[in-house]
């Protein structure tokens, strides 16, 4: 059983880290602010989401698991709204912002 949990954890966390790498690469390589914002939100949503998924079976109590999910939900909310807000600020100022 613990082997299954470990394998699941390795797969999910590995995939999550991949999205972080992809997000950072996008932040570095994409040509304009709005595309970079697009890359960033992938790291927020999928990267942390998959890591939380991989850590969930290892949590010690139901409350700890609930907190993990809440952390992901909060980051999702923060990421989505800040992407919207920063994106609007970029548009308002033009591409130079």
């Amino acid at each position: 059983m613990s082997l299954v949990i470990d394998l699941f954890g390795v797969a999910a966390i590995g995939a999550g880290v991949f999205f972080f790498v992809a997000g950072a690469a996008g932040l570095l390589r994409f040509p304009d602010a709005l595309s970079r914002l697009h890359a960033l939100t992938k790291a927020d949503n999928l990267g942390l989401g998959l890591i939380v998924l991989g850590l969930l079976p290892r949590s010690t109590s139901p409350l700890a698991a609930l907190k993990l999910i809440a952390i992901w939900a909060l980051v999702l909310l923060a990421g989505a709204t800040t992407a919207q807000l920063v994106g609007r600020a970029v548009r308002r100022k033009g591409s130079a912002a």
């Binding site: 470990d6 880290v17 890591i51 952390i71 923060a78 800040t82 609007r88 600020a89 970029v90 100022k93």
Partner: protein, 95 residues
């Protein structure tokens, strides 16, 4: 497994450090806020991984606090970037 978790936390921190290059370079303040956002999320992720690996108690609460405040810097930035006298020009269009 512990080593794997720690290695992944380190990898995320390394990625985030590379993202710092954007913070250094800009070109705009919005890019700097994005870098801060990425580092915030990466910090939460590596915090959870380190906590799972070292078994420190109560770390979920720290991550929860960080997640709650993740949007704060960006919100302060957006609030200050939009001056009071400028009407929200694209609130009318595009929606």
């Amino acid at each position: 497994m512990t080593d794997f978790l720690l290695a992944m936390a380190g990898l995320i921190l390394f990625t985030v450090a590379v993202g710092l290059a954007r913070l250094l370079g800009g070109p705009g303040d919005a890019d700097r806020m994005m870098a801060a956002q990425l580092i915030g999320t990466g910090g939460i992720a590596s915090l959870l991984l380190i906590a799972a690996a070292t078994g420190a108690r109560g770390v979920e609460d720290v991550a929860l606090g960080l997640a709650l405040l993740a949007a704060f810097a960006s919100v302060a930035f957006v609030n200050s970037a939009a001056p009071a006298e400028a009407p929200d020009s694209d609130a009318a269009d595009g929606r």
